[in-house]
Amino acid sequence: MNATVGQCEATRRAAALNRIRGPQSALTDFLASHNISAAQIHLDHQRRIQEHEQRQQEQNAGNAEDDNADAAGEDEEDPVERQKRKRKEEKTLMKIKQSKEFKKRKFEQKKEHGSDTEMDDDELARSMLAKSKPLPGQLDNCDICEKRFTVTPYSKTGPDGGLLCAKCSKELKDEEKKDAQANKKRASAPRGRRRQTESDRLMGDVKPGAKSLVDICVRRVANVVHDIDEFGDMPQSVLDRLSQILSKQRVLTPRVLELFLRPDIDRIDIYDCGKLEQEDFQKIFAYMPDVKFVNLRFAGQMKDGPMLYMVDKCKKIRHLQLGAANLVTDEAWLQMFQKLGPQLESLKLSELNDALGDDMVEELVKNCQNLKRLKLRSCSHMGEASVDALCALTKLEHLTLAVAQQETSAATLVKLITALGRNLRTLCLEDYPELDDSVLEAIKNHCNKLTKLRIRGTSPCSDAAFACIFDNNSGNPPLVYADLSDNRDMDNMNPEGPQDNPIGLGSAALEALMKHSGERLERLNLKSCRHISHDALINVFDGVKQYPELKDIDLSFVTQVDDVVMNGIFKSCPALAKLAVFACFNARQARIPAGIAVVGLPNAQDSIVVGGALNDW
């Protein structure tokens, strides 16, 4: 120490004496004029470091330290300063000696070493002082970066118990904040997910385990669709799913539409065209002249222009589905039927309130002779004459008719079924109030290939006639899809319906249907068939009879359904994924096996808690 100080003194003297200097920079000159010397600063710094190291060595040496050494070490220090420091140290030592911690340690040491080792109080206090943290205002070395810094009340404690400098404190604080935020996010995630889980449940998706990666990615892509410039080589199935999600979120704007326009694929499915205008429709057909499948729903702003452009440009269209295209006039429809009609294999038109009257349907029939699939739903100008005209479309395999408002007689329907029945694989007749037993009989006699049948919203049909369709003697193949909802007696005065000759789809029909099609049936909709008896339900779903393919059942408003029936359904339908039981108030206690989505229970919150494994009810 002495040597260092001496050296330092010597340099200072040399600097003062030696006035002959080499060339200097302006800065050095300026600093020199203010009595600041870089060499001096450097030397001082070195000295401080050495001092510090020395002190640490002394501290490490521990008991080797004594007052003499101390005095020697601080030889050059101002005696007043030294006195002050010493007094301060003594004061802290006194404080430590009086503290509880000190007494405790002393006691422990005595216990350890016995009375023979006379541990000096001073020594013990000093060792505690070394460990105790410096007070604010003092200097310390940072625990992480080892830099020297001034301790403040805000200095953080590092991972090893030492204090941290301002920079490291800040970093630690930031990290803690980030952690806290992540925790918060993790904690709040289930709340947002709850909604998604419920939404999935209504869609019949309650499979345990993580969603497929494709599903997760598609949802994510849909969320960030506005940041995406191009989908690239997205496979068709994924594009379709994206279109569905984006349509549901109502974000299919002209900008998003462009992502879907690809000349290399042959189909376009947009489920919500509500935000698209004339030029956007035109753009679709301009970009994709080779398109074969066109599916545009809610195309409310599609007018004659794009329609005629499509007829002109897209010569390869085979499948056309348009929804709510109400600004297209009859002339444009006529053009379309005439130009594209002969090549169309499927045509689906819905929600047309302003065009497509009986005369247009006649044109349709005349031009579209190759149709295999026809769906006309809510076309309010279609009447009985249209149904009559459709008898000429003998190549039809799939037919869906849901004509609003206009009533059609049973005789016309019988004529239609007689004419087309033998090729039909799908037959859907919705909301024909006149549909009666004679039509059901025609279905039984003529539709020998049917796999999908929907007869909805009739009131005059009898239970016996329904049962007759599924008579095993008919030789008709089993159905895969049966929707016989809303077939019931409509007499308010007699809610039970006539007893001797039951009206609507009742017990006998249900038993016949399940006997006939139980092997293959995948979907069964019996909503509002309220004349089905409890006995029939128990009999059909007795837990012994198995319906291996049945995935989706709707028994809403079939009030006879109770816990016994539900348990029977769970046992009889091993593949069941979704069961709808709205307004079945007797069924609320049934244990729902994992993996089955039951919707419509009155205590919706409770039903989320489902039984554990599949075989544990």
Partner: protein, 103 residues
């Protein structure tokens, strides 16, 4: 490696840029594509060597895919599983990879 008839419990997935991932066989089989690659009965070279070269998937994406494999396996029987998180920049590439791997 099917030396003794018992396949190793680990397989190696190699990305297009040469990153190798040693993954538990059960986890890798979350992907139907890889499951078929590794099926002994199909007699692909992948099944014999236990190494799948995925030439159309980059290392960054494959890392996430592997993360999903383990994530899927971990949550196999739990309800209301949160979606796995990944950076949005990756979502298109990851989607293509997931579609290819039938995951």
């Amino acid at each position: 490696m099917a030396v003794n008839g018992t396949p190793s419990p680990f397989v190696t997935l190699v990305s297009s840029d040469g990153f190798e991932f040693h993954v538990r066989r059960s986890a890798a089989c979350v992907s139907a594509t890889i499951r078929r690659m590794l099926d002994m009965q199909n007699n692909f070279s992948e099944a014999q060597t236990g190494i799948c070269h995925l030439e159309n998937i980059s290392g960054i994406v494959l890392e996430k895919v592997v993360e999903y494999f383990y994530y899927n396996e971990k949550h196999r029987n739990s309800e209301g599983v949160p979606d796995m998180d990944f950076p949005s920049e990756l979502c298109l590439e990851l989607l293509m990879a997931a579609d290819y791997l039938i995951t």
